[in-house]
Amino acid sequence: MTDLNRLGLVVAGSLGDGVKVRLNSTSSVEGVKVGSNVVIQGQESRFFGVVTDIALESSDPSLQFNLPDVSDKFIRDTLSGTSAYGAITVEPMLTIGIDQQADSTGPMPAKTIPAHFSEVMEASEEDINSVFGSEADGGFWIGSPLDMEAKLCLNLDEMVKRSNGVFGKSGTGKTFLTRLLLIGILQSGKASNLIFDMHNEYGWKGTSESNHDVKGLKQLFSSKVSVFSMDSESAERRGFVPDHVVSFGYSDIAPEDIQLLRETLDLTSIAADAAYSLEAHFGPGRWFNSFINLSSEATNELASEINVNSSALAALRRRLERLTRFDFVSQDRVEDSSEMILQRLNAGQHVVLEFGKHGNNPTAYMLVANILTRRIYNRYQRQKELAMGDKLAEPPNLVITIEEAHRFLSSSMSGQTIFGTIAREMRKYNVTLLVVDQRPSDIDEEVMSQIGTKVSCLLDSGRDIDSVLSGVSGNRKLRGVLARLESRQQALIFGHSVPMPVVVRTRDYGSAQSYSDLGDVSVSNGDSKKALEDLFGPS
């Protein structure tokens, strides 16, 4: 144990408000950052906590009114640290028993606070490893704590047990973080991934902030990842051939999809509900085809026949025509795309569905994601029920990644979409979500409460911060930490995969070293020259 940076002593505080630490005269206030980790050596336990507030205090209450002459360096140096000193507030999160050998259960949530005059130090690398686990324990190295080089690991077992979320303003690095989490899941083999890749970032390659190309999942794990595309031209322009191009027929569209698209298609609820009446009338799978080609008079007749407002029905037909204009929707179904995806997933493969140009169209994204997820989820449900407790016959765990999740999981939608169902059912059928979103305040509260681990980059809206932190103990203090994250490469992680909330500097992704650390160890044989070019290309 080298000499850690001793910060100060505990002088006041409470469990509810945090522990007040008076900084040593040698420690400068400016050297401490909110969100950094500290260790407090109490009398009976060792506490591990995070700095939540920093203040300037004085033993002379009139100091700020009767300023001494601080141009005199002697006076200034004398007063700094004695009459005028820094104080930090620390939220004690965990206790580690002093005798590590005796404590076999590891860090426990703190139920008390350290005694007066306990010494406070910066956390060391060993402390980080003992609290968060290490790669050797099966953790996934996601990044480092503030101002440290230690590897901070997530507990992947805990993570894949529940749905998870990545939040942050646009441009704060959500995509990088999501990619890292997906790689972690991929490497561990604990679940299969199905990624609805709106902006073509995850499959073949993506772009970094500095506009460099970074490798996607397919490039790192070629044998385990399949890239499907909605737009083959876009894929070719970006220099690769997708494993399959996805298309749908009219028979794939269900009334539930219309409900989801209510806002984007600008339908009234009456018009959207009419889809159910149509399905009842024409039969499932046939209603869309039968309805879409009707003339105006036929529509009016139908309206009175099925007892639906005729102008609503007419509006519905007009809006549904927009769906037929997508080039991936054809009247007759060419193939069963969801079946193809399912086959890959059952074989242990991971599937990225790129949207190409359609990623800019929320209607297209939501429609496709909903259709496929509905199908896949139903199959999973059936498979799991058939397995009836036989673990080997169960389908493999599946993590579905959706972006702009607030469109699928808003308060109005979450009760009706498959995604809301999956979020609430918590891996009942081995399916969980990874939601990526910049407007968490629009996501239904109940869904948010089911999210197991939240990774949050900088958020600046008070409402967004509130919704991300709701239900987290000590959330008042974490607000200050969350609002002060750097705009890039920093995130606050809390939830089941970490023993305590922690600020993390995301690990590097995009350099040759990062690719070799993260990628599939078995680089394709015979292709080593190309592999070398890839590895040592521009970074």
């Binding site: 005269s25 004398t78 007063l79 009459s83």
Partner: protein
């Protein structure tokens, strides 16, 4: 001036004798007129188990309280001539000084808090050497009693003590800064007063 100290080359020179003594301070009459040590100096009283004090007040006046000094220099060219032409002044005037007790010695160990009993009358009072000054300069806790007395000269006495200590111990380079920080801890809630004292400890 008549020099009554025959051991002027010795380390600790005898300055006078204790003529009054109580728990907090003792009064010394100097053998030599104007022979009081500087304000803030460290002195000790008693040959055995000495009691240490910091000079905090000195006073020169007539021995006979009924006979007050009168002006004698009118028409003379300098102040020196007043004393030359009135040699009886050396016996009619006397200098006394008070020392605040700050510690005592027991079996060659110096302790920096009040002794069980003050020094005896007629104890010899002597200057202190460097090691004794260093002992008190390092702790400075005794300063709180001088400061708490809140006499008009308390702040000056404290500052003077630090000045003397720094002058007597030039090899202790951090002494000024360290003393300043100890004072800051003692006067934590009164920055104005602290600033005043710090100004009286210049850098030389």
């Amino acid at each position: 001036m008549v020099d009554m100290n025959t051991q002027s080359n010795e380390h600790t020179t005898r300055i006078g004798e204790v003529i009054e003594s109580d728990t907090n301070e003792f009064t010394t009459q100097c053998y030599e007129l104007y022979g009081a040590p500087a304000l803030g100096s460290l002195v000790k009283a008693g040959e055995l188990d000495s009691v240490y004090g910091v000079v905090s007040y000195s006073h020169t006046s007539g021995l006979d309280p009924t006979r007050r000094p009168v002006a004698r220099g009118e028409g003379l060219a300098s102040e020196e001539l007043v004393y030359d032409q009135n040699p009886q002044l050396n016996r009619l005037l006397t200098t006394n000084f008070k020392s605040t007790i700050v510690g005592y010695e027991v079996a060659t160990q110096i302790t920096a808090y009040l002794p069980p009993r003050p020094p005896r009358i007629h104890s010899f009072v002597m200057r202190c050497d460097k090691s004794e000054i260093l002992t008190f300069a390092k702790s400075l806790d005794f300063m709180s009693s001088i400061l708490a007395a809140n006499l008009p000269q308390s702040d000056d006495v404290v500052a003077a003590f630090v000045r003397h200590a720094c002058q007597a111990l030039p090899e202790e380079t951090g002494l000024r800064a360290e003393s300043a920080r100890r004072l800051a801890l003692l006067l934590g809630n009164d920055t104005r007063r602290l600033e005043g004292i710090l100004r009286r400890i210049p850098n030389d």
